[in-house]
């Protein structure tokens, strides 16, 4: 066997079936598999070379629930034992009675008093079973039902970019527009503010979503926000 070599470059966009490396020098990580002496991508993503391990970071696809993620869900069903939430994933989540509020909910109480159909709720994932049963809680800091504002859907894989390092990007948008913004890890985001400022905030988020791979994005977003709002912005932290 000759020495293995990379066929594509680090940070390349790769698609399913694409050969990433030949030879036995590299190891297949997430989003890749080995076929004889080749390593092949099995999803669309950004190639990451981590030492000898090749993996792809997904660029598309629905949300995969992860424990401790803070997400925004929509009430799709009211059960005897709690609420079923659509969380923009293949699998719905369940918010059990005991996790809905700090106060006690008596048996047979009218559950719509707490959450009604089509309400949006910020929740945290407490457990994901191997069968993809997802449990969430609404008890904790920042977890609550959303009132007013609007919901938008963004690519779940772009959420880290939209939030930015230590929340720098989303803070920038909040500061410029005065909007309240919550971005769930599942790609569901909530924005509430003055109507014209909401439009600017949405456009800024869409801009980040579309240009997430562009370098100097923070400056671009800052320029956009300054032009749109007519206000100068101080950027405290660079990306």
């Amino acid at each position: 066997m000759t020495d293995g070599k990379l066929v594509v470059k680090d940070k390349d966009i790769v698609v399913p079936g694409e050969v990433l490396a030949k030879g036995m020098n590299f190891l297949p990580g997430h989003g890749t598999y080995r076929n004889n002496d080749e390593i092949i991508a099995n999803r669309l993503g950004l190639l990451t070379v981590d030492g000898k391990v090749l993996k792809t970071v997904p660029l598309a696809g629905r949300y995969l629930p992860k424990k401790n993620d803070t997400i925004i869900g929509r009430v799709m069903d009211i059960l005897m034992s709690g609420w079923r939430l659509d969380i923009n994933s293949a699998y719905p989540a369940v918010l059990p009675l005991k996790d809905a509020t700090f106060s006690y909910i008596a048996k047979g109480a009218d559950l719509t008093k707490y959450f009604e159909l089509d309400d949006y709720v910020v929740v945290k994932i407490t457990n994901v079973t191997s069968q993809n049963l997802v449990d969430v809680t609404c008890k904790g800091q920042g977890l609550h039902k959303l009132r007013g504002g609007r919901i938008i859907q963004v690519n779940t894989h772009k959420v880290p970019r939209i939030i930015g390092k230590k929340g720098s990007m989303v803070s920038l948008i909040k500061k410029a527009t005065g909007c309240k913004i919550i971005v769930g890890q599942n790609g569901t985001a909530w924005i509430s503010g003055e109507p014209e400022m909401e439009v600017i905030a949405v456009n800024a988020i869409k801009m980040i979503e579309e240009q997430s791979h562009v370098s100097g994005l923070t400056d671009k977003v800052k320029d956009f926000l300054e032009k749109a709002t007519g206000k100068k912005l101080e950027v405290s932290e660079k990306e």
Binding site: I13, I40, A60, A90
Partner: protein
């Protein structure tokens, strides 16, 4: 090779040459993944929704997800108006499309869920199931579905012992010579065949030869599919 009465194609097309191809990803805004694939005049749109919850619940399988394909021709997509709603033909094509894609899709990653693929042909001039499969496979990748490879598809034919790639409508309807039309789909990385149908008459040796002739064309189609997807994500 026997000499053939079929010695010239329309527009001076080579016997092993497909019609011009255009491929684009992300053409349907509300879908999880989507693509358009055009070969000659035959134009297929595909949209993927899911993985999402499968209803009715008794169809759910805790070991694996389900792939559901639906092929449909728009009423004005053929010379004679196509009556809306499923036909025997569209149901069969939906089924073989599903089987053509199944070998590459890692459905075990999506237990209990369904991945819905809707294929709409806006215009057809032969080769519509192949165009649909090409578009569907791109749409699946665009939706971030895990899959071993994308599937490429084209039809290959034998007209009076002459092997030709990607028959157009006129060639399909030749009556004064024997015409065999063989829609094929292949997994490019393994060269395995996932769709194989044929109507017409052909000898075994010619069929095997036709499969060989189709291979490089299918690989070129795979390249175009990949390029279109990358184009979308490069922004």
């Amino acid at each position: 090779m026997m000499s053939s009465k079929y010695n010239k194609r329309a527009n001076n097309r080579g016997f092993e040459e497909s019609r011009p191809i255009e491929a684009r990803a992300g053409v349907i805004k509300k879908a999880d993944g989507s693509a358009m694939f055009r070969i000659g005049k035959t134009t297929a749109y595909a949209a993927v929704y899911g993985p999402r919850e499968l209803h009715p619940k008794h169809l759910q399988d805790p070991k694996t997800g389900v792939l559901r394909c639906n092929y449909n021709m728009l009423p004005f997509s053929a010379e004679e108006r196509v009556r809306p709603g499923p036909s025997r033909r569209s149901k069969e094509i939906s089924m073989v499309t599903e089987k053509a894609l199944l070998p590459v899709v890692n459905l075990e990653d999506y237990p209990n869920a369904v991945v819905d693929v809707f294929i709409e042909l806006t215009e057809t001039d032969a080769g519509s199931r192949c165009a649909g499969i090409c578009a569907a496979s791109m749409a699946l990748a665009d939706a971030g579905i895990t899959m071993k490879d994308m599937v490429s598809s084209v039809s290959v034919g034998v007209i009076d012992h002459q092997i030709v790639v990607d028959l157009d409508g006129e060639e399909e309807h030749i009556t004064d010579m024997d015409v065999a039309d063989i829609p094929l789909a292949m997994v490019p990385s393994t060269e395995e065949i996932t769709l194989l149908q044929m109507d017409g008459k052909v000898g075994k040796e010619e069929l095997l030869k036709a499969l060989e002739v189709a291979k490089p064309v299918l690989k070129r189609i795979a390249e175009l599919q990949r390029k279109a997807l990358k184009e979308k994500y490069k922004g």
